[in-house]
């Protein structure tokens, strides 16, 4: 198949002036000098931070609605987790949903941010947040207990909308 997008130029087609490289060099310098005044791509990290789009998979969190977590402790996320990072222990409660996680731990050293837990969750209770700044200085800090995972539903609205639209 012939590509018509570019014209083939042979050395014998060039004029003497073009053979001196000078016009090509000036053209190149025009491009580089124009680039000096273009806006920069760099994000100056500690001062300004990257705001991820809704499709971003940051650390998994548990959604809290009306003061209680949505999670019914079915254990599907724990089952599907390829890295075995999630541990759930169920207990009974007085609420309508009847079950709640007594213990919900995510080992952030194991988590691979695949988002399977979010996909499998029937209650939209565990979702991926935009939080990507995770640092721990020892192994104990890396295991996030339930209190650390709870996030009110108002803060993750955009992600929930994204999930409903595209999942």
């Amino acid at each position: 198949m012939k590509n018509n997008n570019f014209k083939e130029i042979r050395k014998k087609d060039l004029s003497l002036f073009q053979l001196t490289y000078i016009p090509a060099i000036l053209k190149g310098m025009k491009i580089t000098i124009a680039n000096i005044f273009r806006p920069k791509f760099t994000i100056q990290y500690p001062e300004e931070k990257f705001t991820p789009p809704d499709s971003f998979r940051g650390r998994p969190i548990l959604v809290v609605e009306n003061g209680i977590e949505r999670c019914v402790a079915c254990g599907l996320c724990s089952r599907v987790c390829p890295a075995l990072a999630i541990e759930v222990q169920a207990n009974e409660t007085e609420h309508i949903k009847e079950r709640y996680p007594e213990k919900f731990e995510i080992n952030m050293l194991r988590c691979i941010f695949c988002g399977f837990c979010e996909e499998v969750c029937p209650e939209e209770a565990i979702i991926m947040s935009k939080d990507y700044l995770l640092t721990f200085t020892n192994t104990e800090d890396a295991i996030y207990p339930k209190e650390k995972l709870l996030v009110p539903v108002e803060k993750v609205k955009s992600r929930l909308e994204f999930l409903r639209k595209f999942r």
């Binding site: 001196t20 060099i25 190149g28 310098m29 580089t32 000098i33 680039n35 000096i36 273009r38 791509f41």
Partner: protein, 343 residues
């Protein structure tokens, strides 16, 4: 005697500080061209980056490879740096200046064979690179050194021949006389800078100067992707630092030479001499020289981030089949013009 020592100190201090900041400017310009910010963490806007770099170089371990020739391995960077600094001795960086009643000529050594001295030292500079490549006992370093010597030999010729045109016009080997000659105006609006008198010679000299300083597009001796650094692969710490210093110092000398030979040195065109007092005027001329050199350096840097590296056979082709005949054509044209009495 004191006067000369002071001038040497002045030149070395200025040269070293320009080299230090040239590295920063190079990185900054490179970053800007690639739509980045460049170093901006050390000091305000990264202005103290050179200090950090130099401190780092001094604290690095000095490694000499086991099978290297230890004496030559240490000698090579010394040759490079000595040559790089001593070339500046004959370049006039300003007109005669009158300080406290003493007339001071603003160049260190007013040698009457200044141009020959420069060419000779430029050839010695190759030894630093070639010896470092040989002494490292590393095939890549050796290849870098060999390439460097072959490249220098081919480009020295066209460089020398393009200078011949300048010498014919000036009638002297003295760089000061060459600068003096470029003070006038042709037709009342073009300065008699050699770039306007012999553009072909200027282009050949410029290209040869790029090749002599091992700058892109002619940086084959240190081509990173092919030769993992070339002649300075086996150097660490301040020995590597010396090569780095020599490279950038050579860049300054080459720019100063281009300015002296083709851009009228410290001459300021269109400015009548009686506008300012003689002292201020002499200072202005010094600044004019510095400004011209800095602009040439910027040109060097922008070219580096614009052009890709030449292949080795292309380099030789251009050197022998294009630059060499072009320089001779330039000599013939200049000679004809002189015969006709135009120059």
């Amino acid at each position: 005697m004191l006067e000369i020592i002071l001038k040497i100190l002045f030149i070395i201090v200025i040269n070293l500080s320009i080299v230090a900041y040239l590295v920063l400017v190079e990185r900054k310009v490179c970053a800007l061209i690639q739509n980045r910010y460049g170093p901006n963490r050390v000091g305000p806007q990264g202005l103290l980056q050179p200090v950090a770099d130099i401190v780092k170089l001094f604290f690095k371990e000095d490694i000499v490879p086991n099978d290297a020739n230890k004496f030559v391995h240490s000698l090579a960077p010394i040759i490079s740096i000595i040559v790089a600094f001593s070339t500046f001795a004959v370049i006039p960086f300003g007109d005669t200046i009158n300080i406290f009643g003493t007339e001071i000529k603003l160049l260190i050594a007013d040698v009457n064979v200044g141009v020959l001295y420069l060419l000779a030292l430029a050839s010695i500079g190759v030894y630093g690179i070639t010896l470092s490549g040989w002494a490292s006992n590393n095939k890549y370093s050796l290849l870098g050194g060999l390439r460097s010597s072959a490249q220098m030999i081919s480009y020295e010729l066209s460089m020398g021949l393009s200078i011949v045109g300048v010498i014919m016009v000036a009638g002297s080997f003295q760089l000061d006389a060459i600068v003096q000659k470029q003070g006038g105006l042709i037709l009342g609006f073009i300065p008699t800078w050699n770039i306007f008198l012999q553009p072909i010679g200027f282009v050949t000299f410029l290209v040869s100067a790029f090749a002599e300083t091992n700058r892109l597009p002619f940086d084959l001796p240190e081509a990173e992707p092919e030769l993992i650094g070339g002649y300075h692969t086996e150097y660490t710490g301040m020995k590597f630092g010396l090569f780095f210093l020599a490279e950038y110092s050579n860049m300054i000398t080459a720019s100063a030479l281009i300015v002296t030979l083709y851009f009228g040195g410290w001459q300021i065109p269109f400015l009548p001499a009686d506008t300012f007092s003689p002292f201020v005027f002499a200072l202005l001329k010094m600044f004019a020289f510095a400004l011209k050199v800095l602009l040439t350096l910027l040109f060097f840097i922008i070219i580096r981030w614009t052009l890709p590296r030449f292949r080795y056979d292309q380099l030789m082709n251009i050197g022998w089949k294009v630059m060499f005949p072009a320089a001779i054509v330039n000599i013939i044209i200049v000679g004809g013009l002189i015969l006709l009495g135009i120059l």
